[in-house]
């Protein structure tokens, strides 16, 4: 009897154990980094963060979480904000807008946060908006879609370079290279479609026309059919807007079809996984991104260079690999909030915090130098971008 019962319950127990184990892995993040709270008598300032620690954007959420935990320790060792320790409660949205929204409600209602960092993805960021507006809490998103700040909300700020910044930069470099006809490829997900729309809307201003337009779905495994269409057009370069592993497939398929056209990607390709995945097919691939990939591009005597090299060194020492651009976006989001808090007197409200974040002027971050205005909550300029080229598997500066 017992034997049979055991046999019946065994699988259920195994599965339950596994589920509990994986949940425990997720919820570790919740209680993260509230060290340093004991020494100071002052009450902690609590910030919420909604990040994708699982799901499609897990690879982005992980460096973001690493960065927040590392910088938080540093902030609290330096005495926090005017003597108040800072605490960040991190929630996983599983790359799901509905879960991002639920996490936001929890952060607002149960944790009572002063500001929220995130979400990792554009869709998740937009899903949080209703509750952000209802509670009147400032939000600093680390998602790259143009829509985050283009659909303007006074409460929402954004640290990655939005497509409306990167697209004109890329198109102007194409114009300077004498290219007038491009093939445009993008994924049908949020980021790719957003970039594709911005390219189509602005390309005319640079005397360039789109002679072939091809899309693919996130998760597609082969783009030779789309590229055969491109090959049959008279395009002089291919512009690719995608932040996933599909970019490496496009590069490899182009090599396979012996297409010699220059391939321009975007800041979504600023990841070691891209160069590794595409191998020698990535040679000559160009993409615009911020300066963190090669800190000397900030200018070695600049403040930005010192901030970036210090961050890269500490991150590399702690996590055993160099930070990517996503780590930088989280760094900027955290410090934009913390610096604003430092400038405010005791007992500030969330509305005052929002106003103070908007008054950010020449903040030297990793993504660039931020200056917010009443109508610009992205705060960077094309000066914060450089064009990279992949050469011998590594990023080099692509000088015009």
């Amino acid at each position: 009897m017992t034997g049979k019962w055991l046999q019946r319950m065994l699988p259920a127990t195994v599965v339950l154990t596994l589920v509990v184990a994986s949940l425990a892995g997720c919820s570790q993040a919740d209680s993260s980094s509230d060290e340093g709270g004991e020494e100071t008598a002052k009450e902690p300032y609590t910030i919420g963060a909604v990040l994708s620690l699982s799901g499609t954007y897990a690879g982005l959420g992980e460096p973001e979480k690493n960065t927040i935990e590392m910088e938080l320790e540093r902030i609290n060792e330096d005495g926090g904000v005017n003597g108040h320790p800072v605490k960040v409660v991190i929630e996983d949205d599983a790359t799901d807008p509905a879960k991002a929204q639920a996490a936001t409600v929890r952060l607002i209602e149960q944790v009572d946060v002063l500001a929220i960092i995130g979400a990792t993805g554009t869709g998740q960021t937009m899903g949080m908006r209703g509750d952000i507006d209802r509670a009147g809490i400032p939000q600093v998103s680390v998602a790259g879609g143009t829509v985050v700040t283009a659909q303007f909300d006074p409460l929402v700020f954004q640290t990655p370079w939005s497509n409306s910044l990167v697209v004109p930069f890329t198109l102007s470099r194409l114009r300077d290279a004498g290219i007038t006809k491009i093939a445009l490829m993008y994924d049908t997900g949020g980021f790719g479609a957003d970039g594709g729309d911005v390219v189509k809307a602005t390309v005319g201003e640079y005397g360039i026309s789109v002679v072939a337009e091809q899309t693919f779905n996130p998760g597609d495994t082969d783009m030779t059919a789309q590229l055969t269409m491109v090959k049959g057009s008279d395009a002089e370069a291919v512009v690719l807007w995608n932040a996933g592993k599909e970019s490496a497939i496009v590069a490899k398929n182009m090599q396979q079809l012996s297409m010699m056209l220059p391939l321009y990607g975007c800041h979504g390709n600023a990841r070691a996984e891209f160069a590794e995945g595409a191998g020698d097919a990535a040679e000559g691939f160009r993409f615009a991104a911020g300066k963190i990939l090669l800190p000397e591009t900030y200018g070695t005597d600049s403040m930005s260079y010192r901030v970036a090299t210090d961050f890269v060194e500490r991150y590399t020492e702690r996590y055993g690999k160099a930070p990517d651009t996503f780590a930088g976006h989280a760094y900027d989001a955290l410090y934009l909030i913390v610096e604003a808090m430092r400038r405010l007197p005791e007992g500030f409200t969330t509305a005052e915090l929002r106003d103070e974040i908007e008054r950010t002027d020449d903040f030297v971050g990793i993504g660039g130098i931020f200056t917010f205005t009443e109508s610009d909550h992205n705060g960077m300029s094309e000066d914060d971008l450089v064009m990279y080229r992949i050469q011998d598997g590594a990023w080099v500066l692509d000088t015009p």
Partner: protein, 292 residues
């Protein structure tokens, strides 16, 4: 459109189609012996690629790492059947199908925790530039995809029609009860089917990883495609799975050539619905299926 371009579209379609076919074979195999749809089939695809990368990173040479990846996936398939499905085997198909869905979630989450969230790369099986045939380029890895698909389908057809084991599997699909009365060890048949389905999924996963990279979340999408291919061809027959896979791949690439890349998945799914409307049993499926 010139003939070289047309050939290129056909090659792209046949390459994707062969991948769908390998996954579809796994669906067919499990359906053939249990009458259920194994929604964890896509995760076997994911595990094959991820485990092969894991073994390469441990320092094993590529061929051994690839084989180890497939075998480890097979082990997980066997363990999944033994630990999660067998204890509930008398609960009816719906319960079993739901267990496979749960199993796929567990495998995906564990993979994310063990191997991380980033995409991983596996080197190509044979180095070198693509081979040009009549103006169309074929990458070397594509020959591995086709070769392994042919081996898989020939092997399975032989297993089904020529061996006692294969006949026992077919008997199981008709009636577990009757098979057991005839002296067939149905529990073993079901477990081996899951093991073989995991091998097929694993093979598809390792052979695709050099083309596309792999990550913990690739299973769901390929699972849907493979399932569609299996249904399109007709469940329960290896040849039908391959026909379904290749048809789906070709329709997708021809949609890009003649209509629009935006709608390729829509067109493929509309075709699937149309076929099911006219022939609910699939292109090569048998019209009548005896069910007890």
């Amino acid at each position: 459109m010139d003939s070289a371009a047309l050939l290129q579209f056909a090659i792209a379609g046949l390459k994707n189609g062969a991948i769908y076919a390998l996954v579809a074979l796994g669906f067919t195999l499990v359906f053939g012996s249990t009458g259920i749809i194994n929604f964890a089939q896509g995760e076997f695809f994911m595990l094959g690629g991820m485990l092969a990368v894991f073994f390469v990173r441990l320092g094993l040479p590529l061929p051994i790492a690839v084989i180890a990846g497939v075998l480890a996936t097979a082990g997980i398939g066997l363990a999944f059947e033994r630990l999660a499905l067998r204890p509930r085997r008398d609960s009816g198909p719906l319960v079993l199908i739901i267990i496979t869905i749960g199993g796929s979630m567990v495998m995906k989450s564990l993979s994310r925790h063990v191997f991380g969230g980033s995409e991983l790369s596996l080197p190509a099986f044979s180095e070198g530039p693509s081979i040009v045939v009549a103006g169309a380029a074929i990458e070397r890895q594509a020959f591995w995809v086709w070769g392994l698909t042919i081996i898989a389908v020939v092997g399975l057809t032989w297993l089904y029609s020529k061996t006692k084991f294969g006949r026992s599997m077919r008997a199981c699909s008709l009636s577990h009860e009757a098979s057991r009365l005839m002296g067939i060890d149905t529990a073993r048949i079901v477990m081996v089917s899951f093991g073989l389905a995991a091998v097929l999924g694993g093979i598809a996963g390792v052979v695709v990883a050099p083309l596309t990279q792999t990550s913990f979340d690739v299973g769901a999408r390929i699972g849907v495609k493979g399932f569609a291919a299996a249904i399109l061809g007709g469940l329960g027959n290896p040849i039908a799975a391959v026909v379904g896979g290749l048809t789906l791949g070709l329709v997708e690439s021809m949609s890009i050539a003649f209509i629009s890349s935006t709608y390729k998945d829509v067109i493929a799914l509309v075709l699937l619905l149309l076929v099911l409307f006219v022939r609910p049993e699939g292109i090569l499926g048998r019209a009548t299926r005896e069910k007890v």
